[in-house]
Symmetry: C2
Subunit: 400 residues, 2 copies
Amino acid sequence: MSKVAILGFGTVGSGVYEVLRTNAKEISRKTGKEFDIKYVLDIRDFDDHPEKNLFTKNFDDIVNDAEVDIVAEVIGGATIAYEFTKRALAAGKSVVTSNKELVATHGFELLELAKKNGVKYLFEASVGGGIPVIRPMARCLAGNEITEISGILNGTTNYILTQMQNGMDFDVALKSAQEKGYAEANPAADVEGTDACRKIAILSSLAYGCEVDPDKISVEGITSLSLSDTVLAEKMGYGIKLIGHSKKVGDKIEIWVSPMLVSKNHLIAGVNGVFNAISVKGNMVDETLFYGRGAGKEPTASAVVADVIDIAISEGTESICVWDKRKDNYVIDINETKTAYFVKVKSSEKDALRAQFGNITCAEEGDEVAFITGEMTFGEIKAKTEKLGITTKVIRVLNS
Amino acid sequence: MSKVAILGFGTVGSGVYEVLRTNAKEISRKTGKEFDIKYVLDIRDFDDHPEKNLFTKNFDDIVNDAEVDIVAEVIGGATIAYEFTKRALAAGKSVVTSNKELVATHGFELLELAKKNGVKYLFEASVGGGIPVIRPMARCLAGNEITEISGILNGTTNYILTQMQNGMDFDVALKSAQEKGYAEANPAADVEGTDACRKIAILSSLAYGCEVDPDKISVEGITSLSLSDTVLAEKMGYGIKLIGHSKKVGDKIEIWVSPMLVSKNHLIAGVNGVFNAISVKGNMVDETLFYGRGAGKEPTASAVVADVIDIAISEGTESICVWDKRKDNYVIDINETKTAYFVKVKSSEKDALRAQFGNITCAEEGDEVAFITGEMTFGEIKAKTEKLGITTKVIRVLNS
């Protein structure tokens, strides 16, 4: 019998409680293991909860209780969650988490601390919500050299982009996302790409074996996208998605978060609403893709519980969800990364565009025109569009 | 250092050899484990092979060598592979396999035998080729009660159906598949659905915990599909895919392999060519989907090697990829299973159709018309179409 402590009784924490209680019998049937919740830590009062005796406001109760094997940290953020995680690991308790900020910022240190104390630090729920992707990538693709990752890693922005594809303006789509509870009152972390940045940092750290500093990742959100971008992309056979992308190039990586045009022939273009999908390429398996609900109470809790179960069924083994410490000059300068680009200008500037890019064929919408370039570096496309001396919208195109 | 024996040096076997050799350094970096190939068993001569000293024609060499920890059985079929697997497990060697026929037919017995001998029998490569699906379903969705599985499980038929969707007749598409090496000279196991049947049997045995007898599964292949079916489906917003489907209904399951109409809004409709995709629903995670190359040398070998690695990194633990023995009356009579249906008749019979089904709206193509019914049992739709007394094509519709 494993004894579990849940840190934080918000959306995900209460989900973890529900999954462990609702599916207790099924989990035991499948795994031969039993799990009991011994504590729930939260600063708020839950006096009306049917199991109010589980609640504590004092982390010492948990860290000093030798019976607690597994701590599920679902507080979020990198302050108090960071302290609690370090103390739990140091006390010889395995920690599982959905906290992408903490894993992206302090992953290496926490993984080392876990190893030193003979326990595990697992984080399946930190990327892709309920989608199994961390463990499948680490274990099921362990025979591969992972070469590339591209994914829709944020459900809020994908919901907004889906609404825009259906003809809604950005502001209206954002408001709709807020009304449905998909976006926070302050949607910055989602729409400016910070959340996706942490997730591609985690996936890439794991895939290529070296921790990626999130601050080194070029991040562009979706706030500057307009309806005409999506309409023009559509006319050329593409959808626009916010993509977290990374690729191994020699002993370095290219990595960014930005809106990208995705060909309608690629499955990712068909991923709508709050769903996420992550494409992972390996040198033997070619492309694989993992799809599902990237957020939400039960899906995220499902992934946290998967890690709780994993601790119990893999007792005595070492985790392979680990990576080395950060190194200098690991991330390629964004100006040196190469893709094709969607370039949009006012129709009146079509001749200037042709003077710079040759005899191109443009899609037209209202008073704007756009076309897709060949592959070139980001530095080159910036230089070319600056030479135009006019307002130009440039969006990367996903190579599929 | 784990010592591996590869049984069978065909497409998959030579792929396993290549993955272990090509990615040796990367595998060791990721897992901290090393793997050496000690034997390759094949009845043929490989005197020109650079490592010809590894080859043997005598299984005794392998089973009697105490140094061999892991046997990769990639012979296929349920005769000699069955014997070798039993002997290897009995000798205390873990066995990993891509052999869906053997797992579907004798899975329970072999899993029990492995357990009795303190070793493992793993079969990630038996379903979905390189796609991680067996282990993700068993481990990453372990917190869920799996409720439903629907997937494109056979790449050959999906290639043929994709070509038909592009306007090619079945016979021409089959010939094209054979020319490209996707289909065997005798394509029966693929086009008649036998291969997909074994795979949905394995997935369902694992998901719901009780072995499904493949002989109890209603199987319909793609040989009776015509181009006009795909055109009419397309007009109604659907693609036609060969789907392996199962669903938990109380303590029984519904299960079949048949062509199904899949809404263009569902990702599965966008899975083209030889790719596979498997949708798995859980009571907490909702829908997840796993996509990738469902066959081929390197992808399948990638999955076999994942199991080889798993044996090493999870030493001392018990596998949770297991299920109970078959039980009577577990599979619901196909006549009692319920879906919507695509019903096609000659245009001249439209009035008869309306007399039976009410004032329906039909899609038309050439001299044929079709519509989609509401949900009813297979027994009911058969009774209704028999009453029509005319030639009727009936195809299930996937509920998404």
